[in-house]
């Protein structure tokens, strides 16, 4: 609790912590919003993919000793491949089915993944401590933990990379065209099936990468998927489903909101507030706070 007024160092520290946390949260949700925008697909297994990415980094750390913060490129590539194959083998089969079948499909994947992880790795929380873990930079009265800063930095680098990919490469532009009008894109010679596969690959890849970043700054546990799915949906819905700039704002908002609640209130109401706000936004502003969702 703060000793001085409300606007003291504690307050600014809470905001800073929130922004750093928010950077990671953006990485969690960008793939969800992206896949929805391009394919109208709701990946409710998003949080479980984050969990799997975190554990992949954890096991690399446990066996080879590489700091989780530096293994995200590998996780990104592996999860991209998994996403690509999942689209080609499973999701493609339900694309023509009633719209909610893909929701139910991912629901099954989520249940299988989270319970498979619990069976394999038990119910315990794990934490990685490396040489970088304890270090921090100071900025006046504020402290910036190095790991959190790196995680924030890599998350934004990934988003910048995604932006450049979508705007500057032929494949990226094909995906944007597919998102705008699937049939028109097909007529223009875009391989829509391939665009879908790459989209889901990016969705899975960014989720796995977010897991790596989380593994380096927070404790991880096989049951964490549900919470990160909640975060991902909260951010995506708040920003507008399928509207990527909204995701940036949503992620930072969630990070700051959570940091403030934890600093000034008890942690037990965090989930109540998040779920309630998520519900209310869906009912009253289903297109997000900017009204630009789909």
């Amino acid at each position: 609790m703060g000793t001085g007024g409300f606007m003291d160092g504690l307050f600014y520290q809470a905001i800073l912590n929130g922004i750093l946390l928010g950077g990671i949260y953006i990485a969690i949700s960008i793939g969800l919003s992206f896949a929805f925008g391009v394919m109208h697909l709701i990946n409710i297994a998003q949080g479980d993919l984050v969990m799997l990415g975190a554990f992949m980094s954890y096991w690399i750390y446990a066996f080879v000793g590489i700091d989780p913060i530096f293994t995200f490129p590998l996780v990104l590539v592996v999860f991209f491949a998994i996403g690509y194959v999942t689209q080609k083998t499973l999701v493609a089969r339900v694309m023509g089915a009633p719209p909610l079948m893909n929701l139910v499909l991912f629901f099954g994947i989520s249940v299988a993944l989270s319970n498979g992880a619990q069976l394999s790795w038990g119910p315990f929380a794990r934490i990685t401590t490396t040489e970088l873990s304890g270090t921090s930079l100071s900025l006046g009265e504020l402290t910036i933990p190095v790991m959190r800063f790196l995680a924030f930095f890599f998350s934004f680098a990934m988003i910048l990379g995604l932006y450049v990919f979508l705007r500057r490469t032929r494949t990226g532009m094909a995906i944007v065209a597919t998102a705008q009008d699937r049939e028109a894109a097909r007529l223009m010679g875009v391989d829509v099936e391939k665009a879908f596969a790459i989209t889901l690959g990016i969705g899975f890849g960014t989720a796995g990468m977010a897991g790596s970043l989380i593994c380096s700054v927070l404790s991880i546990v096989p049951t964490m998927g549900g919470i990160y799915s909640l975060f991902a949906f909260f951010i995506t819905v708040l920003g507008g489903m399928g509207y990527l700039p909204g995701t940036l704002v949503g992620g930072l908002l969630l990070g700051i909101l959570q940091s403030l609640i934890i600093t000034y209130e008890s942690t037990s109401i965090v989930y109540l507030v998040l779920f309630l706000v998520l519900y209310l936004v869906l009912v009253f502003r289903p297109k997000g706070i900017f009204g630009k969702g789909m």
Binding site: H40, I42, L90, R93, V94, A97, P98, P99, L100, M101, L103, V104, L105, F107, G108, I109, S110, V111, A112, L113, N115, G116, Q118, L119, G226, L230, F233, V237, S268, I269, Y271, L272, F275, L276, L278, Y279, L282, V283, P286
Partner: protein, 333 residues
Amino acid sequence: MRGKEDSTAKRLLSISFVLVAALTLVFLAAPFLGLPAYWMRFLTGIFMWVGLAGSWNVIGGYSGRVDFGHVVFFGAGMYIATISILEYGIPWWISLFLGGVGAVALAFLVGLPTLRLAGAYFAIATWALAEAIKQLSLVLKVTGGTYGLVPPPILGREGSYYLMFLAMLAMTISNYLIERSKFGYGLKALMESEVAAETLGVNTLRSKLLAFMVSALFPGIIGGVYALWIGYVYPYDAFSGLKTDQMVVMVFLGGVRSFLGPVIGAVFLQVVFEFLWTYFGSEVIYLILLGVLIVISVIFIPGGILGLTRQRLPRARFFGLEKFSERFRRSAE
């Protein structure tokens, strides 16, 4: 030709009617004939899940709205019945009734704003609301917070058995009737195209709301029975997302949009669960299988087990039940 078909259908109808009546008698008489406690518990569980899965079929199947928070009505029934007895001393059977009414009222209040949302948004919204209500029950005083409440286990083994059986029977008959009613056809039209249904004179919001309320009634009652059966009510059990998950899997696995589907799915999964529990002593393997089964059923057998029997197996083996439902399926189309 037509007359002959009708008489065949009548014969099949009477065969399955006799079959259902015989099964009912067997289940009603079983406790008197010394059914062991283990099997009583096992069957009570099956009855409960057939009822719950059947209720999900109303909103998720007939009206095509994927409800990821259906457990809310079950939990509401548990808490309402328990609080009615503990706080107000209301007789148990009125308390159970209140649980059902409370769940329906909740469905009305929640449904009015939520059912306006498009499919995927509805799914996320119901999930978020169910989780919010769980979190709320963790901090409220009236629900006993994390410690929960301890209702007297008034019903006992036999009482729970019979009440769950009745709930299951009523839910399944209700689904059978919905499939053949004007209301059911309205829902079907609405699921295929909301705009088209609206132009043809189906009041879409009212139909959806009614379906949602019908689907909430039995979970509310069953929740109360469950509370008075096990004698312990706490948020992580009452509002467990896993309960919703199981309802969804049972419906899709058995065969969505058919009154028999949830029955088959629930019986199948409960038997599998019991088997895995006995041999491995852990729930986790069952849950992994749950996830894998839903993926398989969505990709390979979209019609569920029921759809599979229609395609692959000789018809006569199903005591006419299969032909019977096939006929109604055709007449519904």
